[in-house]
Amino acid sequence: MSISRVADATRAEVARSLMGKRRDVRETLFSLVLLLTLVVALAVLIVLLFNVARTAVPLLADHSSTILGNGYSALPQNAGIKQGLIGSIYLMLFVVLLAVPLGIGAAIYMEEYARDTGLARFINTNIRNLAGVPAIVYGILGFAVFAQLLGSITGPEVAGLSLLTGGLTISLMVLPIIIITTQEALRAVPKSIREGGFGVGATRWEVIRSHVLPNAAPGILTGSVLAMARALGETAPLIMVGAVTGFLSTHGGPIVSLRQKFTALPTLIFAYVKKPLPQFQDLAAAAILVLIVMIFVVNLTAILLRNRYERKW
């Protein structure tokens, strides 16, 4: 055997073991088992959406004017979700007008102003812990603090359990989410961008306004939109602060509504699911479809914003 033939054989053997498609059954099996977890998650989603749609779509197709145009009723054929829809939109407005500015402000302080002091570390830990507080505890806060404080402006029959209380409670609940996502967005803006601003003599606020915020805006926006989606679907704090079925006065405009009882889409779903009559269960499915579509639209907006403006430094 010549040397070159030995070398050829060796080369072929090495190439085969490096590139050959020896199938390893256990390896394939393992990756399939892992993939199965995602398949299960997908299957749950499909079954859930299919189950809701199967009931909701025919109902909405036949009775859309009743369901979308009527409020709560003890008679299932007259009952609808209009007040819940309006209530949920009001709650989102609270998040946009109150929680978003407050959250961005707090995040700016933590990232741009605060030095590494004990107080700053305490506030940061506190925000992180608030993000993990169960939603229903925010409900207790709303109902023990806001409902008591605001009781005097709502009158005795509402007893402080007004749209204003609900909006404040939901805003506080999503505040930590907005702060944390904004902090991450601010942290992603490189130091050199800020130094450019300081170099020409800008004050810290001027640097933030002209250099930091425009660059962090997509991340902040995405976080805020996700917080809105969260506010849209959250139920537990609302049932604590009296989001009751059937109440939401739309007479007299939004300012009057603030002082009155309210309801929201997820609360209506809860109320309808709890009723024994099957027609109410079907109505719950219709309300769920509307809610899920709203949440998907909001989330899709966030994803599109992220993809459109995402920037890597």
Binding site: L38, L48, A135, Y138, I140, R204, I292
Partner: protein, 313 residues
């Protein structure tokens, strides 16, 4: 803008800067600082309102009823064991579902999926995460309980049971576990994987023997966070766990039971009819305090584990 004439005399006045700009700087700093302080106020509000009500409860209640046959606030029976057992059973079932699903999905996304596949697979988990809990409660009542639990365990199992609630809570928690665990696996440096491949290890051995041990802190954190979220979940258990009106002490997940969160919701929404001077109404704050301390402890523990990952890499 401060008027600095190039080549002019630099005076102390010029170096001090424009007073109106400095005033605005101080104003903005103050505003951001107050926004950051709001988060501290929220925590103080939560703790004070929970403590006040809990102390009120302990003063009014006959302490022997805290260790009785069941949780029936209307009849002044406040067996803490009942709601603790209910909470732990639901959380345990939830983790049996969420741990394999979440960790499997995390390992697949982090070690097996190509970047292209990741782009299509990750939205499955994100969509599952965006489904509101009240919707999963409806799903548990309409699909999981009748089509899964009652089929497997026989129709003598009541429609409202803790097992169905636990499965639904597990599906709710899965995306959270997956996302935190995947972050931890992603943070494992590529050099460790390359070293493993260099020794001839396959993907499976690399995943199980290198990546998972290196990410074990983060994986533990994801599971603790999952338990914390499962304990704090309200709507699913309020709909399907079967604790409306109270529950006897039970450890059987196939029976109806009461969790801490569902007990709070029932007390506040009045399905337990507990207004008045008795201990039933303030018991809500007592349970809220227990829930708050339990989830806070778990969150702090998981934060510890996450920090350990950060320190190492």
């Amino acid at each position: 803008m401060a008027e600095v004439v190039i080549g002019g005399r630099i005076t102390a006045e010029v170096l001090r800067g424009n007073p109106s700009r400095l005033r605005r700087e101080r104003l903005m700093r103050g505003l951001f600082f107050s926004a950051a302080l709001v988060s501290v106020l929220i925590s103080i509000g939560i703790v004070l309102s929970l403590l006040g009500g809990a102390i009120d409860f302990l003063r009014k209640v006959d302490l022997s009823t805290l260790w009785s046959d069941g949780w029936f606030p209307r009849n002044n029976l406040f067996d803490v064991r009942t709601i603790l057992a209910g909470t732990l059973i639901v959380a345990f079932v939830a983790m049996i579902v969420a741990a394999p699903l979440g960790l499997g999905a995390a390992l697949y996304l982090s070690e097996y999926a190509t970047p292209r596949a990741r782009r299509y697979l990750k939205p499955i988990l994100e969509t599952l995460a965006s489904i509101p809990s009240v919707v999963l409660g409806y799903f548990a009542l309409r699909v999981i309980s009748p089509e899964l639990v009652q089929r497997v365990f026989g129709s003598q199992v009541p429609l409202f049971n803790m097992l169905s609630a636990g499965i639904a809570v597990g599906l709710l928690v899965t995306p959270l576990v997956a996302s935190v665990a995947e972050d931890a696996m992603h943070a494992v440096p590529g050099s460790l994987r390359e070293a493993s491949y260099g020794l001839g290890a396959r993907r499976r051995s690399t995943s199980i023997r290198v990546v998972v041990p290196a990410a074990v802190s983060g994986i533990t954190a994801s599971l603790i966070l999952g338990v914390s979220r499962a304990i704090g979940e309200t709507m699913i258990v309020a709909i399907v766990a079967g604790g409306t009106g109270g529950s006897l002490f039970t450890l059987n997940p196939l029976k109806g039971g009461q969790t801490m969160t569902a007990a709070i919701a029932a007390l506040a929404t009045g399905s337990d009819q507990v207004r008045g001077a008795g201990p039933a109404y303030p018991s809500l704050f007592f349970v809220g305090l227990l829930l708050f301390l339990l989830t806070l402890g778990l969150n702090i523990l998981s934060e510890r584990f996450v920090r350990r990952v950060r320190r190492r890499f």
